[in-house]
Symmetry: C2
Subunit: 248 residues, 2 copies
DNA sequence: GGTATTTTAGTTGTTTATACCATAACTATT
DNA sequence: AATAGTTATGGTATAAACAACTAAAATACC
């Protein structure tokens, strides 16, 4: 199909060829394995050309009548069965030449990727491997070269993850309903590294912010002293929404 | 043109109708009139249907071979002549039904808006009014109902502006090469309101951060005591890039 | 000269971050 | 039973930072 000459509304008399787009959604899906202290990202093997045999971020093309967010949720649901997650839009990558399916001369189609960022609970994220040639959690540091510009998208997603963890309560979307301050601290350490407060000061700050309610219950069968179990109180978080939770 | 049934790479055997997109770029262009202490946003009158006669954010459809950012710069350059500005991508609005040109039954075309956020220097922003039915700087609080979902996009842009001003040196992109601390403070007050440090503490903090270099020169012909003229030192800003400039 | 205006340079009290430590409560080992 | 190891918890001291306020300096205008 050759490109049709079309008009812009800005220059109604000069025909300017507009681009026709297919819009894709690519997800940067993170997960934290608190057992092994690893930050993981989900990648899938591409079965088809282009980039057949390469690992890539899970993605799909947007269907008729489907919103961008719906598409993001759909591709996520196709890869993993999970009921607790956080998802938001990340950035839109849309330069020409980012997809080899675009023919450089004819300009007949452009591929645009509206990337999304997701964080899922590792423990109940069950990978779905039906028909795909590969699907895997990769530790962030060991992610290989990905298809398209997906390494760039991933880097962007990781920056967003760090930033979100600093200012937003997304950690509680992937922690169990009740958790210890040790669990919470370990999650932060796994994602952010060691470059912030020690456990003692982390505790003091979080408790002072006042959105963690003590359930009264304690852990049992732990290695050391039993820890108090806390619950996240979304209402009590409101006044804290602009305060950082940790200082990187 | 009726929609063609196409295949997704995920389900190679079940034909799924993909959406065909036109991709637009809409710009939230802010400017600060420090003379009158007003935060302004640029709107243009739509000459054509849909929403003919409505004010809207300046936008355009992306052309063949043109990147999203290029399109954003192009539409900006079509509306105002300016050489100092800051521009970045904002958010992508792409739900079905956001544009009445989409026919709800045939699904033959979707309109997607990759919104961008820009801040330009008011003093040398010269509006270009050739052929358009209207173009104007509107004080943010007085912006009327806009076409499409542009009020929502504007709200998103304003949140980004506040956030950027808090953490990024975008103010220096629109201030003159040399400026006084009073100029800088007034810019912040105009955008953020009065809800942060007073002038004295603002001064102390900015100077302590160390990326403002004193030029040695002073203002003349001012009402009161001559002020020192400062210059922004981008290199010296590096270590400060995660520290807030003001506390809202 | 006096006054208004604006910039500049503080001071002080309070809060906050950071580093570090002591103890409590449990488990595992000898 | 005693001891060591582990994790949780509750501190303290110090330095830094924020907020509110005061005062002085340098100009313009009357």
């Amino acid at each position: 199909m050759s490109a049709k000459l079309q008009r812009t509304s800005d220059h109604p008399l000069s025909p300017v060829p507009l681009a026709d787009f297919k819009v894709g959604v690519d997800n940067v899906i993170f997960s934290v394995d608190t057992q092994q202290n690893r930050l993981l990202v989900l990648v899938v093997m591409r079965p088809d050309t282009p980039f057949a045999g390469y690992w890539s971020l899970p993605g799909t093309l947007v269907r008729q009548g489907e919103s961008l967010e719906d598409a993001a949720y759909r591709v996520l649901a196709e890869k993993i069965r999970v009921n607790t997650l956080y998802l938001e839009q990340l950035y839109t990558f849309g330069g020409p030449d980012r997809d080899p399916r675009e023919s450089p001369t004819a300009f007949d189609v452009r591929y645009l990727s509206v990337s999304h960022f997701a964080l899922v609970r590792f423990e109940d994220a069950e990978l779905i491997a039906d028909g795909v040639s590969g699907i895997a959690w990769y530790p962030l540091a060991q992610v290989p070269q990905l298809a398209f510009d997906h390494n760039e998208i991933l880097a962007y997603g990781y920056r967003r993850l760090r930033n979100k963890l600093e200012y937003s309560p997304i950690a509680f979307d992937v922690l169990p309903e009740v958790f210890t301050l040790g669990d919470l601290y370990q999650l932060y350490v796994t994602v952010l590294g060691e470059g912030f407060s020690d456990y003692s000061n982390f505790r003091a700050r979080l408790l002072k912010l006042g959105f963690l309610q003590d359930t009264g219950c304690k852990t049992s069968r732990g290695a050391g002293r039993p820890a108090s179990l806390y619950r996240f109180d979304a209402d009590a978080f409101e006044p804290c929404k602009d305060k950082p939770m940790v200082f990187i």
